[in-house]
């Protein structure tokens, strides 16, 4: 068939340096390296201290989740899905549970809508707290990492109180959530939010007004706005380039349409702008959590009735459910053939494009000392690439 003329994106030019000249240095950053996000590695070729070529290598954490899910009952997959994005498991639970509910025609109670929104926003805050420690650490601010990891631990305490688990919660399940609000829980949340907010003020002062951080992060890893669609960039990486996209607004899922918040965008699209934007989104999450606590129905059921999970067959069909996680569009594509197991589950994690195509392109021409800062500024989690 004759091709119609389409606007094409030329592949990023690679250097292909002649390594036999001895002019270049090949080095691996990762998989065990403080300047890498999780279990992945970058194969860097440097000319002096400038990176001329970068390849992302993943697979160190591949556990075959998508294959495993095809052989387990629908409900048996919940202990698997939360492990796909370790620091942010709840988005996996939400997307998978919502996909199942949509295919099976299940509606969830009002209280579960709010508890799910609460859980996702609290997770967002915890994940950003972990990220900001990494971002500061990549530029030599180890103290900030200690502060933020402590704050994250306070948030994990809240998850433990609500769900019984600190890291993996398995709280969002089909039909609603797994448990009700413990007595006195929201007062604990409000106390922690106050502490975190105070700590964020300190971080803002120490990190974002620091001359070294500004000098190194400003202009680093500039993402042109035209790359956003070309590379499928989402989340803060896209919003820092001035693109108005946030699935909480665009899809209007859960209780988000009833909450008062504005989309935060930037203009400069470099590592500093992305960091600043994420800091503002942390304050925004705190505000959203307070609104949720105010507006959430305190009574009522938190979970509807489900069929027997051991014999649960979901009608044939397919759907794609997405949510705005800290890194952008997180989605589950689920296909049912009418049996008691998924026919296919494909996970769309934002790191897939950010850590591979975008990172490889941005790394070229970057000073080798800034690679770690650049990598963290894209906020990537390898497990969602490998699944």
């Amino acid at each position: 068939m004759k091709r119609e003329k389409a606007h094409i994106i030329p592949p990023a030019e690679r250097a292909h340096p002649d390594l036999s000249t001895g002019k270049y240095l090949v080095m691996w950053q990762g998989p065990q390296h403080p300047g890498i996000t999780g279990n992945m590695s970058l194969r860097l070729i440097a000319d002096g201290d400038t990176v001329v070529d970068c390849e992302t290598h993943v697979g160190y954490l591949h556990r075959g989740f998508e294959k495993l899910m095809e052989r387990r009952l629908w409900m048996q997959n919940f202990p698997l899905v939360c492990r796909i994005a370790v620091p942010e498991p709840d988005f996996n639970e939400y997307c998978y549970a919502t996909a199942l509910e949509e295919l099976a025609g299940i509606r969830i109670p009002e209280k579960a809508v709010w508890l799910r929104t609460f859980s996702l926003e609290l997770m967002r805050l915890a994940s950003f707290l972990m990220w900001i420690g990494g971002q500061a650490g990549a530029f030599g601010h180890g103290t900030i990492a200690q502060w933020s990891v402590t704050m994250r631990d306070y948030v994990l305490d809240l998850f433990e109180e609500l769900t019984g688990g600190r890291i993996y919660h398995m709280y969002i399940i089909p039909g609603g959530v797994r448990g009700d609000i413990p007595q006195g829980f929201f007062q604990h949340v409000l106390d922690v939010l106050k502490t975190v907010e105070k700590n964020l003020d300190d971080i803002e002062l120490v990190m974002f007004h620091n001359a070294i951080f500004k000098l190194r992060a400003e202009g680093l890893g500039y993402i042109p706005p035209e790359w956003i669609d070309q590379y499928g960039i989402t989340g803060p990486n896209a919003r820092a380039a001035g693109v108005q996209r946030d699935l909480r607004k665009d899809l209007g899922y859960l209780a988000y349409p009833r909450l008062d918040f504005k989309m935060i965008t930037g203009t400069k699209s470099d590592a500093y702008e992305r960091a600043k934007l994420r800091l503002l989104e942390m304050y925004q999450s705190i505000s959203l959590l307070r609104q949720i606590i105010d507006m959430m129905p305190k009574d009522g059921i938190f979970r509807g009735k489900l069929p027997n999970p051991l014999y649960w067959k979901i009608p044939a069909g397919e759907t794609y459910v997405a949510a705005e996680c800290t890194r952008g569009e997180y989605g589950f594509y689920v296909v049912s053939d009418g049996s008691d197991k998924p026919r296919r589950v494909a996970v769309r994690g934002p790191s897939y494009t950010h850590a591979v195509s975008v990172m490889e392109r941005l790394a070229r021409g970057t000073n080798i000392a800034d690679i770690a800062g650049l990598m963290v500024s894209l906020h990537t989690y390898p497990p969602e690439i490998e699944r």
């Binding site: 993943v58 998508e66 397919e318 594509y333 195509s357």
Partner: protein, 177 residues
Amino acid sequence: MNDMESALAERYGAWNWHDQRPDLASVFLESSKTHDALAWLRDSEGYRHLSFATAIDNIERNVFTLTYTLRNHEKRHSLIVHCDIDRGKPLMDSIHLLWGQAWTYQREMKEWFGIDFPGSPRVDEEFVLEGWAGPPMMRRDFDSLAYSDATYAERPGRVTHDPAAHMKAELYPEVAE
């Protein structure tokens, strides 16, 4: 029939349009027309964002169903584009010139399903399965247990129990005896 559905049917012979939700639909195309239809959807219809691409092994029909999910952010609508390719000769046009990250999805599909995308950058390089010598692992007929038994040695000193008998003995020893 909506405007998009009829335009896709008229221009590219699309069929089986299905509205899953107000903001999500799916459609089927011939594989030979999929590349051009995706380019048209991107350039003329505002579906500029490629969320992901993957494949489904429909072994019963002897086809791989390729799945491209696009999003029009202005209309707040996503479209899943499907096409079937022969499972015995899994070849598909590459879309790496339409989206900058598409080559990674194609590299993954080559490794996981054995689907080739001629011309796609680094499509033959290993992605997540370093040193993998077996058949593509996401195919339905890949027997992971048989592969594991044939490839990896059992560590000495491990004991395997029948779960039901073992738990019965642990929890209810008087009955087990």
